[in-house]
């Protein structure tokens, strides 16, 4: 076994894991809060990539301001989507949120193909991160390291927000016991909408940040959506630290496994998830009932 190859695969795993962390945290937060399972999360991720490309092209903006603008374009759309599609089914079993957002993901991907075509949009690596960096004798793209670091910082910010701020306290209260939180005067509907918008913003940000690494195309969200779901299930549904752990298990399995058996990386990942679920149906850090 080539140690260098293993090293680079592991490094790529960390980079992918950092992206997966951004998308998984959003999925997990929204699920924990409102029992909403957002299948359109991957489509929102793709929308982030397209919003970035469009803002750069039409407004003539540089990559960095466009990276800030892309989530700001997607968040209002996501809030409208939440009000129109998820809100009406909020009192039905949670599987309905999955069904509704499944339909929405078709609408978003169809809309993307209608507006921008089915082709791939390439985004150039932004300056000043165009070069590579030498790590233990391997040339590794600098932008990947930067993007991974930024993802980790933003994810840490999300954790801090949930743990340390008054709104975060309310989020945790609703996640713990929605009826009790409501009876204490917390406006759960408003907070769910806010968190849904925020989670969509995180997904769009991940899509935009990843655009120079992974190509922008209509189906770009499908793979990361499935991986995020697996991460969230592995960690225990609705459990934030569990989702973070799950994201890195999924990313490392995929990257290291995929490095050796490229065509079978999904099969290998599923094997790992299968073994975990057979041993612990509630996920690694999950407690109690399987949702």
């Amino acid at each position: 076994m080539d140690v260098n190859f293993l090293f680079v695969s592991a490094l790529n795993g960390v980079v992918y894991g950092a992206f997966l962390l951004l998308t998984s945290l959003g999925l997990s937060l929204v699920f924990g809060l409102g029992r909403v399972v957002n299948f359109a999360h991957g489509a929102l991720y793709a929308l982030g990539g397209y919003a970035l490309a469009d803002v750069m092209r039409r407004a003539g903006l540089d990559y960095w301001p466009a990276l800030v603008a892309a989530p700001l374009v997607v968040v209002p759309l996501a809030i409208v989507m939440e009000r129109l599609t998820i809100f009406p089914v909020r009192n039905r079993p949670e599987i309905y949120t999955l069904l509704v957002t499944f339909g929405v993901s078709f609408m978003i991907i169809g809309g993307i193909e209608y507006a921008w075509g089915t082709g791939t949009v390439l985004i150039a690596t932004p300056r000043p991160f165009t070069g590579t960096v030498s790590l233990a004798g391997n040339q590794f793209p600098l932008y990947r390291l930067f993007a991974a670091t930024l993802s980790l910082v933003v994810s840490a910010g999300v954790f801090a927000f949930v743990q340390l701020t008054p709104v975060g306290l309310r989020i945790r209260a609703i996640t713990d016991d929605r009826d009790m939180a409501e009876s204490l005067g917390i406006d759960t509907k408003w907070i769910l909408t806010l968190v849904f918008g925020g989670a969509a913003g995180l997904a769009a940000f991940a899509g935009a940040l990843g655009a120079p690494i992974f190509a922008v195309q209509p189906e770009m969200g499908t793979g990361i959506l499935l991986d995020s779901f697996l991460a969230v299930i592995l960690g225990g549904l609705g459990n934030l630290p569990g989702s973070a752990l799950g994201a890195f298990i999924v990313a490392m399995t995929k990257s290291i496994g995929g490095g050796y058996i490229a065509d079978w990386s999904v099969a290998f990942l599923f094997l790992v998830v299968g073994v975990v679920l057979v041993l612990r149906p509630t996920g690694v850090l999950g407690r109690g009932r399987v949702a």
């Binding site: 399972v37 599609t85 499944f102 339909g103 078709f106 978003i108 499935l226 399987v290």
Partner: protein
């Protein structure tokens, strides 16, 4: 004699008579389609709808009757297209033999996949079933020596039944219709059997079902395997009809399509998914010829049906029926 016999002999209301006659009438009408001067194109679409109907029925056993929402129901269907297509091309195109082989493959994979997927329920089951289907999709793309990758498996011959080739058109249509009616009757018998009643108990509450001594996991596992097996009948017909298959039959959007047919028709009704499959095939044909935004339109209809008509066509029809 016992009072039960008296109740048997009471006169049926006209509505009950129509209710009893509906199924044989629908079956007869379906079988007659290619022989009453139906345009070939319409008959071909309807043939495709009959095959999809078998697939949608099999999903209804899981979603409507057991409460397990699968987001990867392209798995059994798509796997059968590959198993049947490969066997028919390489070994023998005898329909019954091909069906037996593809069912063997589908059931073997379903036993493994179902064992893992039924460790969880609800949302997690939906996602794990999607993951299973993605694995099969990737194998279909990657195992080129057997599947020919993205090019797809081509050159599947016409099926043969008792030594005679079944041509596309009325002969194959009849075979599809007969298998649909058989699948329908078998599933109707199954959901009414003690096994089916047990699945209904699991659907209404897994906890309660477990509390009265039902082995919930074993029953869910069996439901998954039976559902895949029925879907495999559809997949076997489909590969013959198209004379080949591609990895796109295992694409996640196909799982969405079959879920749409089933929900659109009406969960837990059996006749609903058949109507849903027919509606789906003709709607898709209309939309794809008149607009480029098929996917968007499909998503919109899906969302509206889930929000406004969660009981589907069958629910709407049932409401009109009871009001009349």
């Amino acid at each position: 004699m016992a009072p039960a016999a008296v109740a048997e002999r009471r006169t049926l209301s006209s509505r009950e008579i129509w209710g009893q006659l509906a199924l044989p009438l629908v079956a007869a009408a379906l079988l007659a389609v290619p022989f009453i001067g139906t345009p070939a194109f319409t008959a071909t679409l309807l043939n495709e709808a009959l095959i999809y109907a078998i697939w949608a029925l099999s999903l209804d056993l899981l979603v409507g009757f057991t409460g397990l929402v699968s987001f990867g129901h392209a798995a059994g269907f798509g796997l059968a297209t590959y198993a049947a297509g490969y066997f028919a091309r390489e070994v023998s195109a005898d329909f019954l033999l091909t069906l037996a082989v593809s069912e063997g493959v589908v059931v073997a994979v379903a036993l493994v996949a179902g064992f893992i997927a039924t460790r969880v329920s609800g949302v997690a089951f939906a996602i794990i079933s999607l993951a299973v289907c993605q694995v099969l999709f990737q194998i279909a793309v990657g195992w080129r020596s057997v599947t020919q990758g993205m090019d797809g498996l081509v050159g599947v011959p016409l099926p043969r039944l008792f030594g005679r080739a079944i041509a596309m058109g009325p002969a194959f249509y009849t075979l599809s219709a007969v298998l649909l009616v058989t699948s329908y009757l078998a599933l109707r018998w199954l959901v009414g059997s003690p096994f089916g009643r047990t699945l209904a108990a699991i659907r209404s509450s897994e906890l309660r079902a477990a509390a009265v001594g039902i082995d919930v996991r074993l029953h869910k596992w069996a439901a998954v395997v039976i559902s895949w097996a029925v879907a495999g009948v559809g997949g076997t017909l489909f590969v013959f009809m198209k004379a080949g298959t591609t990895p796109m039959v295992l694409h996640w959007s196909e799982s969405g399509n079959v879920l749409a047919m089933t929900i659109f028709g009406g969960l837990g009704t059996l006749l609903g998914p058949v109507a849903g499959a027919v509606a789906f095939v003709f709607l898709r044909d209309e939309l794809t010829t008149h607009t480029q935004a098929w996917q968007f339109g499909f998503g919109l209809v899906f969302v509206l049906v889930v929000i406004l008509f969660p009981n589907g066509l069958a629910g709407v029809a049932g409401r009109l029926w009871s009001r009349s």
